[in-house]
């Protein structure tokens, strides 16, 4: 794996992400500053980490989405390169047009910072192959704007094409209003683009990868990506 982690002013989860990738893939990721106009040669995974790029000014992720490096990411994604956006990274991918829809203010207007349960909807993608379809995992969230919204047509397409990979659920996997922490359409926690090579998700799998964190449910995502890339190489 040759991962590149994008760094924007105000991002604060890039080192958590680097630690998780190093731990699970065994390779040191590159840190790529937002003003760069290209990605390191041979990059096979771009990660847009969480945080508060540009202080969430204007709209979450709006300014970072227009940074020079994002043109390189769009080219890379158009060629099928894997992109993972977490939290603010998901917001940035939506604002950049790489994913449809937008993350609105949480329905109950509160910043939510605690563990949630996610149901893995399918296991036949690079982003979920480390899990079984229907498996419930526990990972933390930390966001004020995670309420996924899109027009009815887009939601229908996402569901019809099986592009919802992660959904908020109860501990036993039920999809209900109480588990849908931020009011997201269809309890959506993570979606992929039409080609299936760009994933955006609000929860932080990188924060549940070591025993000392109290849970290692997030490892599957990175282990799956590593296995996918090793098989491709």
């Amino acid at each position: 794996m040759k991962a590149a982690i994008l760094v924007f002013p105000g991002i604060n989860r890039e080192r958590d992400m680097a630690r998780a990738l190093r731990l699970i893939s065994g390779h040191e990721p590159a840190m790529v500053w937002h003003a760069e106009t290209s990605l390191p040669a041979g990059t096979d995974l771009v990660v847009v980490p969480g945080g508060f790029s540009y202080g969430d000014y204007l709209r979450c992720g709006a300014i970072a989405a227009r940074a020079p490096v994002m043109d390189a990411v769009r080219d890379y994604a158009a060629k099928g390169g894997l992109v993972l956006g977490v939290c603010n990274g998901f917001q940035i991918l939506c604002e950049s047009g790489l994913l449809p829809g937008i993350l609105m203010r949480n329905a109950r207007l509160k910043f939510i910072c605690h563990d949630v349960h996610l149901r893995v909807e399918r296991s036949d993608t690079p982003f979920t192959r480390g899990y079984n379809a229907g498996q419930v995992i526990r990972v933390p969230v930390a966001h004020g704007e995670g309420n996924y919204a899109a027009d009815a047509e887009t939601i229908k397409r996402l569901e019809g094409e099986g592009r919802v990979l992660y959904r908020y659920c109860s501990a036993d996997g039920a999809i209900d209003d109480i588990s849908n922490i931020n009011g997201a359409a269809q309890s959506i926690a993570g979606i992929v683009n039409g080609k299936g090579n760009v994933l955006g998700m609000m929860p932080h799998p990188e924060n549940h990868v070591e025993d000392i964190m109290g849970c290692t449910d997030g490892r599957g995502l990175f282990a799956g990506l590593t296995a996918h890339l090793e098989k491709a190489a």
């Binding site: 227009r66 329905a107 009011g183």
Partner: protein, 80 residues
Amino acid sequence: MKARVTVTLKTGILDPQGKAIEGALKSLGVDGVASVRQGKVFDIELAGADKAKAEAALKDAADKLLANTVIENYAIEMKA
């Protein structure tokens, strides 16, 4: 030249912030408020004196950055 760009949420998009403000106005005893939708206003100063050029630049700015047209509309108003 000066201009104002107003960005508002499209009809049908939920606005939890507007709802909270609406609730606060009701609890303050402000009568007659049926509903509140929150938006943004950008006051922009433009270099040069070509009005058509300025309008084109503002439209470009609104489409590219100021508004997310998935959920928002915008209006451009030129000032004297």
